[in-house]
Symmetry: C2
Subunit: 424 residues, 2 copies
């Protein structure tokens, strides 16, 4: 484990005990600076400008072309490779630990390098090339199967043999804080003989975690279980917004399309796989059936990360409607990436793969309103006395995620999105 | 119609009568020049370097930044907008028509600007952002429905109400001439109780036409039937390679994934929508049922373009296994793009949308081996005495396409791809 992960490290920057961003995290993101952009990290509530750090000599010896650190997206930075980006993470750890005075004592540099997080605009961190959404939580797939197919045979025959996935729309992935307009589209009302057109009536979130590909492959090449982690740069929270009524009518036989492509939201900070190492946890047993050899998992490749979803009405009190955990995944990220490329499909830096809805075993841990309200039959009571079967106009959905161990909390911050009424 | 389309125009460059590239075509592509790239067009068998044309003053007054014309991809050129790119097409038409001597009489410029097509490497013309594959040929959807579902109710309930489509993999779209390695993957043999892993046994082509988005939209914005053509820059031939056995096992419930993502091939020249104007043809009646108003088609939006598929064994004689036509589409490109964005999904310059397999009403016009061999029950006899149910190792599949009217033939050239054996 990197020395940047040492739980005893403290920073000379203030880090509140409930902060997601102690000195052990050092995630990467982008913020707007004038007409340009800056690669950044965050400790406590201070956003740290990596371009300014490099310009002022604090990355001496790391040999990083500073044009990379004023890019609009992290892709070029990630393309430097883990060896280098991990050194950047360690250098930042050294500069900001409580025993290092070099930058702390230089007020001019500090002013140029640090900005309170409330004072900067965090922008879309990644130029997403291709985006793939998996369907890898067993409880979620089972819930959906029970609701829409046969409760006795909820899982489809292929589900336990491969991580089912599909290609999603990359262009409509947006950063946390971006408003989402309720989509319009075709729906087939129950009992009707022809479809109708109008605003989605069953708008839902899906609680997911996404990972960003950090190392490309060539067409024809396959990633395997042993080298998959080298290709994973880091993780984000991911809200796979879903229009259930549009999806239901359109998705046979070729899968989700307009029911998903109106928007997906991600958190602004990419938390590196290295920062999450302390939260590595047991993977579920896979022996009934055993996966084919290329998917065989013989290590702990799940992560114990608490995941929470709040619905916040406009000017109202929010409610936590879901408490789940990333450890509930049946298929892990390495299996997903190995399967994804077993046919020779190439991946590029900045590609994004999302987990699929992460549901736990109980209703309180279900990762979508479809499951929480069980197709609308069990509405959720809100603090203001209203109920929710799905998401209302002007509701904001907030997903948070963090791990905690040895007194250190490593988090993602949040991904939030407010639903605006459909356009006239 | 543009004066560049005038069927009476002749070029001072030699154009054989069966050439796809008379002076009325002027498609756009990219070729490799030293360590860089050049935006190009073609007349007859001469590739024309647009960077050199501009540098030598032949685009005077068009005000085009020459860095755009040495890009690796056409995206920046297309982003100039149709108004400008159509002026480029017209200027090229003027320069190369038989009555214009300016360039013809300047040997030095001619040498710098022209290269025989056999002497240059045509490269991937577009950096594809998002790729969407539709399923818009009624005969194809009916054939698939008859084979795998109910022959009496071959079309699924949504098919006549909307252009069914799904997101595809952009990273693995390659240019004509790129070898394709037979993919490996999971398959469930008939009668087996668990899947096996190995090379695809049922490798297929799908005859499709793709269009390239030429004008972007913002998230939340929708394209409509009246302005859809403004967003279509041009068309390519598209081979949507398909691994039928992998697809069959994986695709429920979220659609095609690894059965498609190992490769798709496109032709190197993007033929502009404007060049295809003479081949505009009647769209099919859509009144049983009528589509919802946002999809209503009241113009001729199909195109009469002959499409042919040849299978060519290694060192053997080829056979044309399919003669189809782009006019067979039930849903046209404008309907596809309108539907695609009706939920607010944004599109970008360089996005690609493919038609889905284009089958005509008879076996000889079916656009895939799945249909031609009717699931392998009716093999095709090859000239060397062998048979094909699907595509063999070392076979090359060649798709060609062209329209003919008033003595003018406007074509796409070809998209070809050779199947290499699966990796050990």
């Amino acid at each position: 484990m990197s020395k940047a992960n040492n739980p005893k490290l403290k920073s000379w920057l203030t880090v509140e005990s409930d902060s997601d961003f102690p000195i052990q995290n050092i995630p990467f993101g982008i913020f707007r600076k004038g007409k340009g952009f800056r690669v950044a990290t965050i400790i406590g509530d201070q956003v740290i400008d990596l371009f300014e750090l490099n310009k002022r000599g604090y990355f001496a010896g790391l040999n990083i072309d500073n044009s990379v650190l004023k890019s609009e997206f992290l892709n070029d930075f990630i393309s430097l490779g883990k060896k280098k980006t991990n050194k950047v993470r360690e250098r930042i750890s050294d500069l900001f630990k409580s025993t290092t005075r070099k930058l702390k004592s230089n007020e001019k540099d500090r002013k140029a390098i640090l900005s309170p997080v409330g004072k900067v605009e965090l922008t879309m961190p990644i130029k997403v090339g291709d985006y793939t959404d998996f369907y890898s939580s067993r409880d979620h797939a089972t819930n959906v199967g029970k609701m829409f197919r046969d409760p006795e045979n909820a899982l489809l025959p292929n589900w336990l043999h491969l991580p089912v996935g599909y290609h999603g729309r990359a262009s409509s992935i947006v950063v946390s804080g971006t408003d989402i307009t309720r989509p319009k589209g075709q729906q087939m009302p129950v009992g009707a003989d022809k479809p109708v057109f109008g605003p989605c009536k069953l708008l839902d979130f899906e609680l997911e975690v996404g990972f960003v590909v950090g190392k490309k492959t060539e067409l024809g090449e396959s990633i395997n279980m042993d080298n998959a982690e080298e290709h994973i740069f880091g993780l984000t929270l991911f809200n796979d917004w879903s229009a259930r009524d549009i999806q239901k009518w359109e998705y046979v036989p070729l899968g989700p399309f307009l029911g998903k492509s109106f928007a997906s939201s991600i958190s602004p900070w990419i938390v590196t796989l290295e920062a999450l190492e302390p939260f590595r946890s047991k993977s579920p047993k896979q022996n009934k059936p055993k996966p084919l050899p290329y998917l065989k998992n013989d290590r702990d490749r799940n992560y114990d990360i608490n995941l929470l979803v709040d619905i916040v009405p406009e000017n109202g009190e929010g409610k936590t409607v879901c408490e789940s955990n990333f450890k509930y995944m049946y298929w892990n990220m390495c299996q997903q990436l190995t399967h994804h490329t077993v046919n020779g499909c190439n991946v590029n830096v900045g590609d994004m793969c999302a987990s699929g809805t992460i549901s736990g075993p109980k209703r309180g841990s279900f990762g979508s309103m479809l499951e929480i309200s069980w197709k609308g039959t069990m509405p959720v009571d809100m603090p203001d006395g209203s109920q929710r079967k799905f998401i209302n106009d002007n509701d904001t959905v907030v997903i948070r995620g963090f791990g905690e161990k040895d007194g250190v909390r490593i988090g993602f911050g949040e991904v939030s999105g407010k639903i605006l009424p459909a356009k006239k």
